[in-house]
């Protein structure tokens, strides 16, 4: 097995007396399509926040490309190649859709404005927002905002793309569209962590799935095995 791209080892996170993550360890190999599932409040987004640097974990280590990144602020992690979308869209509302993508192009990829605009348009076309490129981000619908989240993460040219519920609220055909984009990004060599509640999407997309419940990993394996796992069924359906 190749050296892992991302290695999370024994990571714990507490909010006051509440344990959001306890001793979570995962290793993700380069090029992998990785699914992260779990009921609401199981710690999926907290784990993503700890990996992307939006939160600091209390103990444990996080290594990216063999390098400890626990101490790095979020922007340095983005520059190292970890990009994410937000579950609750956080667009730059005062900017146009295109400008939203120019931020990572300017701060991560360091491109000239004209080149950046060209490449940003490319991404918008790919994700289906090209006709909205010059519209203010504040005027987008929820669905479009989710696409913008993904587009902005793509603009940071990541090695590891974390998609936090990019498909929530999308119609069936739109889910297929986004899946197609994620598949093609993966084919270009980008490792992808997908957090999703839409089971058929995660199961179709992922090569390996981890299920979190109450801050602990309760099951890890191939999609088919996960679905059949009694622990997972208990976590989701209650026993």
């Amino acid at each position: 097995m190749a050296a892992p791209l991302l290695k999370v080892q024994g990571v714990s996170k507490h909010f006051g007396g509440f344990t959001a993550l306890s001793e979570v360890s995962i290793a993700i190999t380069p090029g992998e399509r990785f699914g992260l599932i779990g009921p609401n409040g199981s710690g999926k987004t907290t784990l993503i926040n700890c990996i992307s640097g939006s939160l600091r974990h209390d103990s444990g280590s996080i290594e990216f490309q063999g390098q400890e990144i626990s101490g790095l602020p979020a922007y340095r992690r983005t520059r190292k190649g970890i990009a994410r979308s937000f579950q609750i869209p956080r667009p730059f509302r005062s900017m146009s859709v295109l400008e939203n993508l120019l931020v990572p192009y300017e701060y991560v990829v360091h491109l000239k404005q004209s080149d950046a605009e060209q490449q940003a348009m490319e991404i918008l076309r790919r994700i289906g927002l090209a006709d909205k490129a010059h519209a203010p981000a504040s005027q987008l619908s929820q669905v479009e905002l989710r696409k913008l989240e993904l587009a902005r993460a793509m603009a940071a040219k990541p090695r590891l793309l974390i998609s936090d519920e990019a498909m929530a609220g999308l119609s069936g055909s739109e889910v297929d569209e986004v899946l197609k984009i994620l598949f093609s990004l993966n084919a270009e060599g980008i490792t992808i962590i997908m957090i999703e509640h839409i089971m058929q999407a995660v199961m179709r997309f992922s090569q390996r799935v981890v299920c979190l419940d109450a801050g602990k990993i309760i099951c890890e394996g191939a999609p088919a095995a996960i679905v059949a796992d009694p622990g997972v069924q208990r976590a989701y359906l209650g026993a």
């Binding site: 990009a83 937000f86 956080r90 730059f92 900017m95 931020v103 300017e106």
Partner: protein
């Protein structure tokens, strides 16, 4: 290019006005104050408007600029240009320090922390004998430099120069990559950080530059009044005006604070002369409320609404 021609025209006009014998001396007294507010409003907007961090501590940075100038003047008899440069450096340093301590706070907490800076600094100056303590210090103006006919005229030109410099800095910050980063911070700090924007560094930069410009604005004040004392130097009016002017003019563009300062500053001067100095504060209050309710994006926002195509 168009901008630098504009700058040259404005500076030339200011110089000619300052040298003209036809203009009433009082004009320079009043215009100095308006220009001073232009610098303060522009400086405030770099952090408060672009990045969305509302700073109530303008008076502190302004007054520390004034006191730096006084100390240098009393101690070394330093010329005005040196006083201004030093005031900018000291207030910039103060901005950096305050930023380090407070910029991890967000929203209202940051605003409250900046108010505290005023009280701390005012207390320190009140208890410092060398600069006159609470009673203040009378200052003797040095001889006026050629070719100006009076000291006030010279100060007017100096402040015009500072205003142009401040606006140019703000404009540069706005149109450069820094500006986009600051806007990203205002819109969503978390998303900015995850898009590679070093938010703390940019905020510190904005706070330092903003503080330095405020200090520079305060440096000529002791010479303007021939006097300095803490209560009026640290007056909350500076903080309120520096905040109200960009709000009224528009915070997203460097022109906003300029328009706001010209508008509000001129009204204040007229009201002070024709009615009373106390009404001043009322004017700010009423205008601020009107704009916040009816034109939250300021004069610039109004124009944009009326002529959408020009944006």
């Amino acid at each position: 290019m168009k901008y630098s021609i504009g700058v040259a025209v404005v500076l030339l006009a200011a110089l000619l006005t300052a040298l003209s014998g036809a203009v009433n001396e009082y004009f320079f007294y009043a215009a100095f104050v308006v220009l001073q507010f232009m610098v303060l409003a522009t400086a405030w907007n770099i952090l408060g408007g672009y990045a969305g961090y509302v700073n109530f501590g303008t008076a502190a940075f302004f007054a520390i600029g004034s006191y730096t100038a006084v100390v240098l003047f009393k101690w070394l008899g330093a010329p005005l240009a040196v006083q201004i440069a030093a005031a900018a450096a000291v207030s910039g340093l103060l901005g950096f320090g305050v930023g380090l301590l407070t910029l991890r706070l967000r929203g209202i907490f940051f605003a409250i922390a900046t108010v505290a800076i005023i009280f701390i600094m005012e207390t320190v100056m009140m208890n410092w004998r060398y600069v006159g303590g609470a009673t203040g210090l009378q200052l003797l103006r040095p001889d006026v430099l050629q070719p100006f006919a009076s000291y006030t005229r010279m100060l007017f030109f100096v402040m015009a120069l500072l205003a142009v410099m401040a606006v140019s800095v703000a404009r540069y910050v706005q149109i450069s990559w820094i500006g986009r980063g600051l806007r990203a911070i205002r819109d969503s700090e978390e998303a900015a950080e995850c898009s590679g924007v070093p938010t703390l560094k940019l905020k510190l930069f904005a706070c330092t530059v903003s503080g330095a410009l405020m200090g520079a604005a305060g440096a000529p004040m002791p010479m303007y009044l021939s006097f300095i004392e803490p209560a009026s130097s640290f007056s909350l009016n500076y903080s309120v005006s520096a905040l109200a002017m960009p709000m009224i003019g528009g915070t997203v563009h460097w022109l906003g604070p300029v328009i706001g300062a010209l508008l509000l500053g001129s009204i204040q001067q007229i009201v002070t002369v024709t009615i009373s100095g106390e009404i001043n504060v009322l004017v700010i209050g009423v205008l601020l409320v009107l704009f916040v309710v009816f034109a939250p994006d300021g004069v610039l926002g109004l124009f944009k609404k009326l002529w959408p195509r020009r944006s």
